[in-house]
């Protein structure tokens, strides 16, 4: 009877251990999938002109936590889950920042295009003004700076 109880306890412990391992593997896999999805959003945000350095650093931090969790899992699996939980929290915070980052990125990209358009417009205007009015401006300036000049005949220089 005692042996049967011991065997039952052993089987229960083994089953629990298998469940814990399966749960940890699932948690790790879930975090990695979430990081991949978050990375894809980050890439889209960057294409929209956003600066995603801060979010990229956060995802690297999450990956480091997963790596630390994996290391701890080799020796004490019961201490692993806080690492994956913290990594998951970081990924969620990145996801919550992305929409705002995209809006800022689009605004930045629009500002860049407006600046370039203004620059090109200014140069085009200057080119047109130069073509049509450079004569007038040149001679006006010439007159302004030579207004006090007087014409005098040189002695003994008759031709």
């Amino acid at each position: 009877m005692k042996k049967a109880k011991q065997s039952l306890l052993l089987v229960l412990l083994l089953t629990l251990s298998i469940f814990i391992h399966a749960d940890l593997a699932s948690a790790q896999s879930q975090v990695l999938t979430d990081i991949q999805n978050s990375f894809l959003k980050l890439r889209y945000a960057e294409q929209q002109g956003a600066n995603v350095t801060l979010q990229a650093n956060l995802l690297t931090k999450a990956l480091q936590l997963v790596q630390q969790g994996d290391m701890v899992n080799r020796t004490s699996p019961s201490l692993t889950s806080p690492y994956y939980q913290q990594a998951e929290q970081i990924v969620q915070s990145v996801n919550s920042q992305i929409n705002q980052t995209i809006i800022e990125g689009r605004a930045h990209q629009q500002a860049e295009i407006i600046n370039l358009s203004l620059y090109l417009g200014l140069l085009s205007t200057l080119s047109i003004l130069t073509y049509f009015y450079s004569d007038k401006v040149f001679w006006r300036l010439w007159l302004h700076y030579h207004a006090k000049w007087s014409v005098a005949r040189r002695n003994g220089n008759k031709r």
Partner: protein, 160 residues
């Protein structure tokens, strides 16, 4: 009248300035030759002093360097594998079990330099510790081998 040639030169200078402005905008948004970087530094954070004799199961430290010059944000993984004479080159990754995986997300021109702690599980002579750089491919939704790897030759002795 101003000489037509002078007028032409003035307009040419303005056109040149416009072209330079547009080119600067265009080239700031593209990368001519995209490439990633992988480097392994010794325990003193230098290229050298690499461990050649280690004890199985005992930790040693290396520094991992990864650089992104792809022109956009990238998700990399460095796989640490242990092999012997198996083939690894620019096209084929080492066919060996992965000991460790280190992941990082880097923006363009960003670099990663972090210490990594490694231990070799079993003893052996002329073992190769291979570090391979893999990159996340959004199209296939999986990591692909970049063809870039580092390797360290070492003898691993059994713990006494």
């Amino acid at each position: 009248m101003i000489d037509e040639q002078i007028k032409g030169v003035l307009i040419a200078v303005m056109l040149l300035l416009a072209l330079m402005g547009a080119a600067q905008y265009y080239y700031s948004h593209i990368t001519q030759e995209p490439f990633p970087e992988l480097g392994t530094l010794g325990p003193n954070m230098k290229i050298g002093d690499y461990p050649t004799q280690v004890v199985a199961g005992q930790n040693f430290t290396l520094y991992l360097y990864v650089g992104n010059h792809e022109g956009h944000v990238e998700y990399y993984e460095v796989l640490v594998k242990l092999g012997n004479s198996s083939n690894v080159n620019e096209n084929t990754s080492l066919s060996a079990p992965v000991l460790y995986t280190f992941g990082m997300v880097l923006t363009n021109n960003q670099t990663y330099l972090e210490p990594i702690t490694i231990s070799i599980p079993h003893a052996g002579n002329n073992l190769r510790l291979v570090l391979e750089l893999w990159m996340f491919n959004a199209t296939t939704d999986s990591f692909t081998y970049t063809g870039i790897y580092n390797q360290l030759w070492m003898n691993v002795t059994s713990p006494i």
